[in-house]
Subunit: 139 residues, 2 copies
DNA sequence: ATCGCTGCAAAAGATTTGCACTACC
DNA sequence: GGTAGTGCAAATCTTTTGCAGCGAT
């Protein structure tokens, strides 16, 4: 597992910005220094770094758009292995004050809490592959 | 703006499940009752319903994968208009107890708070189009 | 010489769009 | 008859994969 020029620059690019860039944006940045890098190397490297836990993705899953008809009770439990997602409600969370640090960044309209972990099923099975959401149980 | 058979069934499908389905999954469900519906109608209808605020998407944005090298301070401010996203930290949020309702769904490893709202720039401009993240400022 | 890494090009997957057809007021 | 909604097929966009060449051990 080598620290190549490309890999170093790709990591540097993500590490040095505050903007949570997507792959395309990382590519633009890296190309200023390494004009020959290709988008697929960026993807490969980003997921590699994520596997090594050197970076994370914003959303814990690699996802397509998902929809939700529950307009209340806006907190979610998400299984980081299989994508199982359910709403939950909590008194305590409903009344959280908006943190000052968040307010500095803009006008906050709502706080959404995401509880990440393993659903019951995955917690008992524990394998190690990164799974995709087709395995999610549906009700 | 009509309530067609398809639209009613698509809404019903999302409203009746707890699983936050993606478009493909909605299609499967609706097809049991309306075999002729097509995937593009499902998409069109889902986004229509979202525009009407009858349903929501799980993530506030229509997004591609985004990456993050900050492994601490895991809370995010997200501008629902332009996608501007920044970390923020907060003492209070770090010590939140894990809600019992979440614990029922699985083994919770961490709570992530997302503060949704309008960034400073969007808060001053206020237009009404759904925007995409290319407009995000990058630093 | 081998093995992993890269770039290219093509493939795959997800979502959107153009267009002609249908249904309804 | 006109307008909005649908289905189909093709287009687009994002991400992944196969493969051949390259570079470092």
């Amino acid at each position: 597992l080598k620290v190549t020029h490309q890999r170093a620059e790709i990591f540097r690019e993500v590490a040095q910005t505050l903007s949570h860039p997507d792959a395309e944006t990382v590519l633009e940045g890296v190309r200023r220094r390494v004009p020959s890098v290709s988008l697929d190397t960026v993807y490969r490297t980003l997921w590699l770094l994520a596997d090594l836990d050197l970076i994370r993705t914003l959303s814990p899953l690699r996802e397509r758009a998902r929809f939700d008809a529950n307009l209340e009770g806006h907190h979610h439990f998400v299984c980081v292995r299989c994508g199982f997602t359910r709403d939950f409600e909590s008194e305590g969370l409903g009344t959280l004050p908006i943190p000052a640090a968040a307010r500095k960044l803009g006008r906050v309209q709502a706080l959404h809490v995401e509880a990440r972990g393993l659903c019951r099923k995955c917690a008992s099975q524990r394998k190690s592959t990164r799974t995709h959401r087709k395995e999610e149980e549906k009700r």
